[in-house]
Point group: C2
Chain length 134, copies 2
DNA sequence: TTCTTATTGAGATTATATCTCAATAAGAAC
DNA sequence: GTTCTTATTGAGATATAATCTCAATAAGAA
């Protein structure tokens, strides 16, 4: 099934790049709608799927929240702040090799993994110290 | 807000234990409904939340699928087979310390992490060799 | 036994994502 | 340039996981 180049597909790719890292499908949809109010939500979702299958962008599935899409900058995973919900990048150099070590043990053919850290970001730590002093 | 001991809460805890590891909320709901057809889905979800906050059970959020709940056997994470959707356990002894190493770098206060591996299980590898020989 | 209020059940609602299908348009064939 | 095939689109319906609403119920302290 040969892929065609559509305006909508380019718009999605451009928006992902413009928004930098970890935008949700909905954020990308809203971004595109500013200039192209007629684009369909389904089209954005479809093209995010197509583009990540093609390897043009990277999908990061986040449990308990919407998937996020990255320009393929470099490998990293995410921390989500449990208070404000914002998502930050985490370098994962030291995680490299994780798959290999597990493949050895299970006969599983690994294709990847998602790691999502949970925590409280520095801002929210400070905020709660001000509002709830002990 | 003092917690009360309700029949429904015990039923949920028992079902999680009975189903062993990585049952979804819906599987737990169906399990309980066999003997107690009047239990509400909301009650199951509510008690799964309460019990995991209390530390009685462990919640494993899985991106792209329903959350799963474990009896607190021992620390492990999960691999989901991309073909059959089944979920298997993976030991994670060597991942211990991950949080500490990241906390140092970011000023983030970490409360935990989820790791979900993706891959193809041995069964499905075999099946696809039979069905699509090269 | 009485009283307070945490908890429940039923159904509505939210959020994320996918599906349906007629209409459109990309790009190959002519 | 014109025709043709079919991938893609837009709009809205649907699916799935989970939470919320609220009157009724019941746990457990008084």
């Amino acid at each position: 099934m040969r892929k065609r180049n559509t305006i909508q597909r380019s718009l999605v790719l451009e928006a992902v790049n413009r928004l930098q890292c970890h935008a949700t499908a909905d954020e990308i949809y809203e971004e595109i709608k500013k200039d192209h109010p007629n684009i369909s939500r389904a089209t954005v979702y479809r093209n995010l799927n197509v583009l990540s299958e093609m390897g043009e962008i990277r999908r990061m599935e986040t449990p308990g929240g919407a998937d996020r899409f990255d320009h393929r900058c470099h490998d990293h995973c995410h921390v989500r702040c449990q208070k404000c919900g914002r998502v930050f990048d985490v370098d994962v150099d030291f995680i490299t090799g994780l798959e290999q070590r597990i493949r050895d043990a299970h006969g599983f053919e690994f294709t990847g993994y998602d790691i999502l850290f949970r925590g409280i970001c520095p801002d929210c730590q400070n905020a709660s110290q001000k509002n709830e002093p002990k």
